[in-house]
């Protein structure tokens, strides 16, 4: 418990002591933690710059500007093409880095605000002294918090210090994007990484606060299977649909319904991460789908009440809900939609106004009131909405399709270049089948609707043409489980570090997929079969559930949810991405006994050189996703975006043809050694899923792999390269340090090949990028 108190005594007299004007101050009172404090507790912007530059000098940014201009200030806009400088002196490289920083800090602020809301609410409800107890399986309750802040939090109140620190750092980084603050692109990148680390920290705070506040299940791997898909909704019931990421109002709706025994009478469902966390709270809740399904869900008219909270919600959600007479309740100060604030109004009045249609939507900032209003509104509005149809008939689909002039304006504006007019042409002749593939590819942005010169409601036409598909969308997903248990880490720590488990693949991100959601499932399955550990979260976790085998089973029904080889771990909502990073930190601490406390550089160095993990953000969209990736990078974990990730404007690529970039200290001897290029890149974007799968295997190589471990990883890399590229990779000689690194079954032929290229065996070192971690005093300077 942290308290700060000041006591002032004007006069004190005792037998042994006299004093006047005595002031006693009591500062932070921390529980004793015998782990020594590392060099960077609660780091400011400059404190981890050296570490950032170690990474940035090896993985230089590749910038791909979306815009060659800057329109940020009133001198502008300025053309920065090539060598031009703007009115403030900025050049195009620095401008790209500034945009990345802006996006990173926006993501951190978004998660931070969410965490702050959650923390404040839980303190209000439970008090500061609520213990952080995650069950018997988790003693290292908040690895990121311990590592970054240098405090072992015991109670909810202990999280306020970390929250305050995060909020200050967000302000400092945000300030750096103002014109005239910062003038170097690499220092801007360091700030972007700093914002990313803050993002990771506040995600952990937010999830832990909601776990202990709402008593979400924790310390279990075998969470229940739950429903996902449009087809799981029971339209005979009133339906309340949630959209967003902040589970506070949803938790109160669930609480109210449980108390009043309504869980079997009203369908609760959701889009995006709120629904993940709702399922953690009560597994009867249904997930409709991820972000790509948002407008499709609203326009369908299935929901009697739509409740929005924050993040990734369409700005036109109110307009679309009103079209289908769904009552909308906004519940968060970041998404008010100019609705009247009814927080202090009587429940019955609000319900009456929504049911009668006097109000199409209301703003209620009290989650408890939302619980009551939403439930009663849904029950009363249901009979009035029986005849509401958001979707249209087959004849109406054909009529609209006949209006299409095949101008291809829809395709031109589509982020994934879907051939919509081909489907329209076929539909105009009565064949609606091509809309199935259109829907599979559609990311739900609705830009086609607004590009169409003939004003065809393309999204509605597409959904309506797929009525059968909607009804068949019934899948199973494993409920999110939150943090990884310490006991699981003990079980896999050694195999991960020594490479016997070939790697950890974290499939996260948004639903802006280049070629449909199925690719995420295919990637997951490829690595599950090869006994990698596969963790998933957010939109990706939902997409994976939608891929079924011939028996109709999803991967969640086929693979267990333990953090172990060949297992599929649904962490849960976007906030739970923090636990993937936390797992890597725990390996460094539990297995390798590295101190966590205020010691990010050493922990990140350990993870970078030893833990074969890669984060795959196959669908890229939000600033939150970018911020998460920046933080992941700072912790030494490489990232792969899907192709749309080029629109984040910046990648971090290594050059395997430049040995001078791969110089590393041998921590045992202090020698500087040129190691193999692994991981080869820090942020990479492939063009296709096939290329992604091959590269994921390669990005799991680590300098410290044992021979057996490297042998296994090379086996997978070579096998996948042959499977998807039809031939052997041409860089095996780079990754074979010794003969024993080569897969046994092809060792002879491979050895002959690589020797022909001049290969010679190398010593396997104890790697570190950080001079102070060299254990031998060789006068190595920092």
């Amino acid at each position: 418990m942290i308290e700060e108190k000041k006591i002032k005594i004007e006069k004190l007299a005792s037998k042994v002591f006299e004093a006047e004007d005595l002031t006693i101050e009591i500062g932070d009172v921390e529980e004793y933690w015998d782990e020594p404090m590392g060099p960077t507790p609660a780091p400011g912007i400059p404190d981890l710059r050296d570490w950032d530059f170690r990474l940035l000098n090896r993985y230089k940014p590749l910038y791909s500007p979306l815009c060659d201009m800057c329109c940020f200030c009133a001198y502008g806009k300025c053309d920065l093409t090539k060598d031009k400088r703007g009115a403030c002196g900025i050049n195009i490289k620095s401008q790209q880095a500034r945009v990345v920083t802006m996006e990173s800090v926006a993501g951190a602020a978004s998660h931070g605000a969410h965490a702050r809301h959650m923390l404040n609410h839980m303190i209000e409800v439970h008090g500061r002294d609520l213990p952080i107890d995650l069950g018997d399986g988790i003693l290292i309750e908040m690895p990121i918090y311990r590592c970054v802040i240098g405090i072992k939090p015991k109670t909810l109140g202990d999280l306020e210090k970390g929250m305050a620190y995060a909020e200050e750092e967000i302000t400092q980084v945000l300030a750096s994007i103002h014109p005239g603050n910062e003038g170097d692109y690499l220092d801007r990148e360091s700030k972007a990484l700093h914002a990313g680390m803050i993002d990771n920290l506040v995600m952990e705070i937010g999830d832990i606060a909601q776990i202990i506040g709402y008593k979400l299940p924790t310390s279990i791997a075998d969470t229940p299977l739950a429903d996902i898909g449009f087809g799981t909704l029971d339209r005979s019931h009133p339906i309340i649909g949630f959209i967003g990421h902040n589970v506070m109002p949803a938790a109160e709706v669930i609480g109210y319904m449980e108390e009043n025994d309504l869980m079997d009478d009203i369908d609760l469902c959701g889009i995006c991460c709120t629904s993940h966390d709702m399922q953690r709270r009560n597994s009867k809740v249904k997930i409709v789908g991820n972000l790509a399904k948002q407008m499709k869900f609203v326009k369908s008219g299935f929901a009697d009440v739509v409740i929005i909270d924050e993040q990734c919600i369409r700005e036109d959600v109110l307009k679309e809900a009103a079209q289908v007479h769904s009552a909308l309740i906004a519940t968060n100060d970041k998404m008010c939609l100019r609705l009247k604030d009814r927080t202090d109004d009587p429940v019955d009045e609000i319900v009456e106004d929504l049911v009668s249609g006097k109000e199409v939507g209301v703003l209620i900032l009290d989650p408890v009131k939302v619980g009551v209003v939403a439930t009663r509104t849904a029950q009363k509005i249901k009979p009035k909405r029986i005849k509401v149809r958001g979707l249209i008939s087959e004849d109406e689909v054909i009529d609209w399709a006949k209006k299409c002039t095949a101008c291809e304006a829809c395709q031109r504006t589509c982020p994934v270049d879907i051939h919509i007019s081909d489907a329209m042409t076929a539909a105009s002749k009565g064949d609606l089948s091509k809309f199935k593939r259109v829907r599979e590819l559609c990311v739900g942005c609705m830009r086609c609707d607004f590009a169409c010169g003939t004003k065809i409601p393309i999204t509605t036409v597409m959904e309506s043409a797929n009525i059968e598909v909607l009804s068949q969308e019934k899948f199973k997903i494993r409920c999110g489980r939150g943090p990884i248990q310490d006991v699981e880490i003990r079980g896999v720590g050694s195999p991960i570090v020594f490479g016997e488990i070939p790697g950890i693949v974290v499939l996260a991100g948004c639903s802006n997929y280049p070629d449909g959601a199925r690719d995420v499932g295919i990637m997951a399955e490829e690595f599950l079969k090869r006994r990698y550990i596969v963790c998933v979260s957010g939109c990706a976790a939902m997409s994976i559930a939608e891929m079924t085998d011939e028996e109709g089973k999803s991967l969640y029904e086929k693979y267990p949810g333990d953090f172990d080889a060949g297992c599929l771990v649904n962490l849960g909502s976007c906030l739970t991405n923090a636990h993937a990073i936390g797992a890597a930190i725990k390996v460094a601490h539990i297995f390798a006994k590295r101190n966590l406390r205020g010691n990010l550089e050493e922990i990140a160095d350990y993870i970078y050189n030893r833990i074969g993990a890669v984060a795959v953000v196959w669908g890229t969209y939000s600033q939150k996703a970018l911020a998460i990736c920046n933080g992941v990078n700072r912790f030494g974990i490489p990232v792969m975006y899907g192709p749309q990730g080029t629109k984040y404007r910046r990648l971090f690529l290594g050059r395997r043809d430049k040995p001078e970039d791969w110089q590393t200290y041998n921590a045992k001897t202090g020698d500087i050694v040129t190691v193999e290029p692994c991981p080869e890149h820090m942020i990479y974007t492939p063009e296709t899923m096939e290329e992604a799968i091959v590269m994921i295997a390669k990005l799991c190589f680590r300098v410290n792999d044992t021979e057996m471990g490297r042998q296994g990883k090379l086996t997978h890399y070579i096998d996948l390269h042959k499977k998807y590229f039809g031939r052997m990779p041409d860089d095996v000689e780079l990754y074979a340090r010794t003969e024993k690194d080569l897969p046994i079954t092809m060792r002879k032929e491979l050895l002959k090949e690589i020797k022909a290229k001049g290969w010679k065996p190398k010593t396997i070192i104890d790697p570190t990028l950080v001079p102070r971690l060299v254990r031998v005093d060789r006068g190595v300077k920092k």
Partner: protein
């Protein structure tokens, strides 16, 4: 076709700024490729477009002009050993092209030709090269790429196929 006409990019995302490359006729494109001393051809995952004609064109161009190919994504699976091809990611090859000293065979390239990679991805890579290198670039995709030094205009499939045929005839 008048190469000086301002052609609109196929997708608005490609309009990154005021500097746009020139849309040229297939004849002009052929001349540019013919005059290049050390061109490089980058092909990608959409190489199967035009029902195989694009792939045939790429093979023919590579052989007749001895242009080495960087095959991105899984496009390598469409090429046999008679074609001089190296596998690299589309971002990897763009990244090394920013290095003025890099060449696939050791000599820097005076012309880099992109074809068969999705439009938006091609646009982003061309913009990297436009802003951060001195490399001259050409796009042979069916849609106008404003960030290429030179590009074909927005074409129908038929005219695109004809254009590629003209290029391969004239480049010898």
């Amino acid at each position: 076709m008048n190469g000086l006409q301002r052609v609109k990019p196929w997708k608005s995302v490609a309009e990154t700024g005021p500097k746009w490359g020139v849309a040229v006729s297939p004849e002009t494109m052929a001349r540019i490729i013919k005059e290049a001393e050390n061109p490089l051809l980058i092909i990608g995952g959409d190489i199967d477009e035009l029902d195989g004609k694009l792939l045939d064109f790429v093979k023919k161009l590579s052989k007749t002009k001895s242009i080495p190919i960087v095959a991105t994504a899984h496009s390598i699976t469409r090429l046999d050993d008679s074609v001089d091809a190296t596998i690299m990611g589309f971002v990897e090859v763009t990244n090394v092209l920013l290095d003025p000293d890099w060449g696939l065979k050791g000599t820097p390239h005076d012309l880099v030709i992109y074809v068969g990679i999705e439009y938006s991805l091609t646009n982003m890579m061309l913009n990297s090269l436009k802003n951060f290198s001195e490399v001259k670039t050409a796009s042979l995709s069916r849609y106008y790429q404003p960030n290429a030094s030179v590009s074909l205009a927005n074409l129908t499939d038929d005219i695109w196929a004809e254009s590629l045929e003209k290029i391969s005839e004239r480049v010898v």
